[in-house]
């Protein structure tokens, strides 16, 4: 009995210290979400304006044939940028992204395309290198706090490969979209070639029917499109960073809850064991005393 009691005590103290760690992680993640959200908000106006500008150029200058806007006749390779996190402890966050990336890979391969993954985040990189997949590029170290320079670097590699004759012909992004503290969705977006969307023109999004360009539409597009790709990647990185913290907070919260529940059950078991031990000791003493009393009565 004594051994069982000691075992339970040891388990309780180990669960307790784990709960302390997960609770701290949960709190850290909660405070980081707020900051990540603020960074996301700060990047929004730029992205909105640049998307508007690109829409303006493309819908106004249909005659502009830029290599970055025109879909190649028979695309051979597709680049997929997969945005994952650097550290774990965030539940199914990375697994969800990678599963979606695999689905996209299957889809692209069924179209006869060769898929080249470009991976950001240590978890995604290890996932790919473990399976001996060759990557077009890998970036680690900034998943929690991406800077614009990081997005620029990734965009540079992707665009260079896109412009190259033997490089990729399509660019897709698989990342996690931050909807709210509780909802994050994995989204797949095609960045290049640009997708033409027919949308209802509303008062605020309406593009004026004519635009003047300084110096020419082609030149504007030439310098605008790389910025557009950078901005899209930057947004994906920021959203992913916020989602990562949200996923981590949720995972750590359920871990803490589980630890507390386990502690409750174990404490109950421990009390039961202790009580059983005491009861046994009492009955042993009573039994012993009775035996002694009986023996004494027999003598007399």
């Amino acid at each position: 009995m004594g051994a069982q009691l000691r075992l339970l005590r040891r388990r309780i103290s180990s669960v307790k210290s784990t709960a302390k760690i997960t609770r701290a992680q949960e709190l850290i993640a909660s405070s980081r979400i707020v900051r990540a959200q603020q960074r996301m908000q700060a990047a929004l106006p730029y992205e909105r304006e640049i998307t508007r500008a690109v829409t303006g150029v493309v819908s106004n200058a249909a005659s502009v044939d830029h290599p970055l806007t025109v879909a190649k006749d028979n695309p051979a390779k597709a680049g997929v940028l997969i945005v994952t996190s650097d550290s774990g402890f965030c539940g199914g966050f990375n697994a969800n992204v990678l599963r979606e990336a695999e689905a996209l890979r299957g889809l692209l391969e069924s179209r006869g395309l060769e898929v080249i993954p470009f991976v950001s985040g240590r978890k995604g990189v290890t996932w790919h290198s473990f399976r001996n997949r060759t990557m077009g590029g890998e970036w680690v170290g900034f998943s929690r706090k991406p800077a614009y320079a990081d997005a620029k670097e990734i965009a540079g590699v992707l665009i260079d490969s896109f412009k190259d004759e033997n490089g990729i012909d399509e660019i897709h992004i698989v990342s996690t979209e931050f909807v709210s503290m509780l909802t994050q969705n994995v989204v797949v977006k095609r960045v290049l070639p640009l997708e033409v969307e027919e949308t209802e023109a509303t008062e605020s999004t309406q593009i004026p029917p004519y635009f003047e360009f300084e110096p020419t539409a082609g030149d504007v597009l030439e310098s605008l499109l790389p910025r557009y790709v950078e901005s899209r990647i930057f947004t994906a990185l920021l959203q992913s960073a916020a989602s990562e913290e949200a996923a981590r907070r949720r995972a750590m919260k359920s871990a803490t809850d589980n630890a507390n529940e386990l502690m409750r059950v174990l404490t109950q078991q421990m009390n039961q064991a202790r009580q059983a031990e005491i009861t046994q000791e009492i009955s042993e003493i009573v039994g012993g005393a009775n035996a002694l009393a009986d023996a004494a009565a027999g003598k007399e």
Binding site: R52, G56, Y148, F211, E212, F213
Partner: protein, 112 residues
């Protein structure tokens, strides 16, 4: 009125201007003339200016308001860039650095 420097030259935008999308030069100075207030001046490095529906938006990779420029640091950067240009004529990075530093100083209202 907004005055900006595109690759084609200076452009001044008054209310009711026709929609324009322009590429801005590296190391330009953007000036917003406001009624009854001091001009808003900013050093803008690259990027675009887009005018539509009486709304001017400037998209820049790097921009700094004239009032926020650290004049001493900008002067220092200019001196360093010029020194490396003198040492090596082909130094494109230094030329851009010098342009940026000049734009920052001009935005801060300094003579360059």
């Amino acid at each position: 009125m907004v005055i900006a420097k595109t690759v084609d030259g200076e452009i001044g935008i008054m209310p009711q201007h026709a929609p324009v999308l322009g590429v801005l030069v590296e190391g330009g100075v953007l000036r917003v003339k406001r009624e009854g207030e001091v001009d808003l001046v900013a050093a803008v490095h690259g990027g675009f200016i887009s005018v539509a529906d009486n709304e001017v938006s400037v998209l820049a990779e790097v921009a700094e308001l004239g009032s926020e420029v650290d004049v001493a640091a900008a002067r220092d950067a200019l001196d360093r860039a010029q020194a490396s240009i003198e040492a090596n004529q082909e130094d494109a990075d230094a030329a851009i650095e010098a342009k940026r530093a000049r734009a920052r100083l001009r935005a801060a209202g300094e003579d360059v």
